[in-house]
């Protein structure tokens, strides 16, 4: 049999590709139509979270901007009042911008945030055609409001939202 080894080997090669063609399913993920699920701890585009009552978690402390190694975050804070309340506590972020061209998605902002306001989400479809479009503003980053009467700013009863950093357990994940 071994005399015909050259021929047998050639046929074996053909058999392997034949098997691949007809018995292996295609592994390609056809991207725009089919999307692969990202992992639980995926670091995609940032999201600014809200509390269940609709108030913004961000208090404008700029710790994220300080932690950012790429200097991609710019925060400007302003004073909250009970008539125009954005977030609990004294201050809120009046401007919050992330330059996605500088961001390296390291997640340090997430770690630095005292209120868990900024979270790296699972959106990875970040494309822009100009430098201006690369800067994501607060409106673009902020989570949608849970219901229409929970928008910010809103008027609240005085003396309720005095504490800016909520009481939290240790992070699980």
């Amino acid at each position: 049999m071994s005399v015909f080894e050259p021929m047998v080997e050639l046929v074996r090669g053909l058999a392997i590709t034949f098997k691949q063609t007809f018995f292996n399913p295609v592994v390609t993920v056809s991207y725009p139509e089919q999307k692969r699920k990202v992992s639980k701890r995926y670091r995609g585009r940032h999201e600014l979270k809200r509390y269940e009552n609709g108030l913004e978690k961000c208090i404008g402390c700029s710790l994220c901007a300080a932690a950012c190694p790429a200097d991609a975050i710019f925060v400007e804070a302003a004073e909250n009042t009970d008539e125009k309340r954005f977030s609990p506590g004294e201050r809120y972020a009046s401007t919050y911008e992330i330059n996605m061209m500088r961001c390296i998605f390291c997640g340090f902002c997430e770690d630095a945030c005292p209120t868990e306001a900024i979270v790296l989400g699972d959106n990875y479809e970040l494309s822009f055609t100009s430098r201006r479009d690369a800067i994501y503003t607060k409106e673009m980053l902020l989570e949608t409001v849970p219901s229409s009467d929970m928008t910010t700013p809103r008027t609240v009863e005085p003396g309720v939202f005095t504490r800016s950093v909520p009481e939290m357990k240790d992070p699980q994940d």
Binding site: S2, V3, F4, E5, P6, M7, L10, G13, L14, I16, T17, F18, Q20, T21, N24, P25, V26, V27, T28, S30
Partner: protein
């Protein structure tokens, strides 16, 4: 010559040329899709439904690409080489019949462009002309890689043309004619490829080498010669080489189907049923298409499966194995016809083929021992 005849020829030529040109486009698509499937990918599926318009996008891209002429090329030859490569690959298809005939009014229109009584010789001669384009392209480019690619290509094509020509002889012997129409008609009862399987296999191997396909794609071995003879070509000139290469694949498959697989004829055991081309002329082109499609599929399958053969081994295989084997196969065929015992042809030729395989094996083993 009447005007009707003129129009008939003109229309048939145009049909043939456009079939080949569009066939080239779809062959690239077919190759990419099948190759992708073999590699468990999807392949081009964006342009048009299922990517069917991909070839058009590629063509537009190639046409609008910048055409670069290097400084020290031999301009005239550099310009004509792609044309010299391209033209034979279309012209060669003229003698291949793609159906019986149909009647239009009182006029009977045969479905072939020309029935030359020495059609096989015509095929051989035109196939040889294509070598000029490649070697001239390699030489006029003033580039070492292109030169080496062109030389390799010439050496390879001339070597394997012998086997190819000898296999034409077996088909001529069994078909009892040199006209391709007669050879196809002779396969009404049985395909020549079934009577002479080794002959068909040898023809297929030689044709792979002739059209520079894997595993014999020496002239374009990227690792060794960048792109081979068309290294310096770009834009539409490159596109012509590309087209010539793929059209040669189609044409060689057509020749293989015509000489060995019954051409436009149905499978022999269907000859008296309603699926016969004698009953329905329009089945002729369809049968030919199916055969060409399968042969091209095998070529692509081989490309996906086998590694490139080393150059010295290619030459050894061509001169020391294939040509003696071809001569043996011709002898066996002639013997079978002489004794009027057709059944001894496949048996003896398969035995001869197996003997050739053992020779290859011994050669490889001897080299393996020498290396240690």
């Amino acid at each position: 010559m009447s005007w009707a005849l003129f129009w008939e020829w003109l229309i048939k030529s145009l049909v043939l040329i456009f079939t080949l040109l569009i066939g080239f486009g779809y062959l690239t698509y077919y190759e990419r899709r099948l190759l992708a499937r073999i590699q468990v990918r999807v392949g081009p599926n964006r342009a048009g439904p299922q990517g069917l318009m991909q070839w058009m996008a590629d063509a537009v891209k190639l046409i609008f690409k910048e055409e670069l002429t290097p400084a020290k090329v031999y301009k005239l030859v550099f310009f004509f080489a792609p044309i010299v490569t391209m033209a034979p690959s279309i012209v060669i298809a003229a003698v291949i019949p793609w159906g019986t005939s149909f009647s239009l009014g009182r006029r009977v229109i045969p479905l072939y462009l020309a029935d030359i009584n020495v059609g096989v010789v015509y095929l051989m001669s035109i196939a040889s002309v294509a070598v000029y384009g490649i070697v001239l392209a390699g030489w006029s480019s003033n580039n070492k890689y292109a030169m080496l690619g062109g030389l390799r290509s010439t050496a390879q094509m001339i070597s394997y043309e012998l086997t190819l020509g000898l296999m034409f002889v077996t088909a001529v012997l069994l078909g009892n004619s040199m006209s391709l129409v007669d050879i196809v008609d002779a396969q009404r009862g049985m395909w020549i490829g079934v009577i002479q399987p080794v002959g068909f296999l040898l023809f297929f191997i030689a044709s792979l080498a002739e059209v520079n396909r894997h595993p014999f794609d020496m002239p374009e071995a990227e690792q060794e010669l960048t792109a081979g003879y068309h290294t310096e070509y770009s834009g539409m000139k490159f596109a012509l080489f590309f087209m010539a290469e793929y059209q040669k694949m189609i044409v060689v498959s057509m020749i293989g189907a015509t000489l060995f697989l019954g051409g436009y004829r149905e499978i022999w055991f269907l000859k008296d049923t309603f699926l016969s081309v004698d009953r329905a002329w329009f089945l002729g082109p369809i049968y030919l298409f199916i055969k060409v499609f399968v042969l091209l599929g095998i070529m692509i399958w081989i490309r996906a499966s086998w590694p490139r053969i080393r150059y010295d081994r290619l030459m050894n295989l061509g001169w020391k194995i294939l040509i003696p084997l071809s001569l043996a196969v011709i002898f066996i065929t002639a013997l079978g016809i002489l004794l009027d015992n057709y059944w001894i042809i496949p048996i003896l030729s398969v035995l001869a083929g197996l003997f050739a395989v053992t020779v290859v094996y011994r050669d490889l083993r001897r080299k393996a021992y020498e290396r240690v």
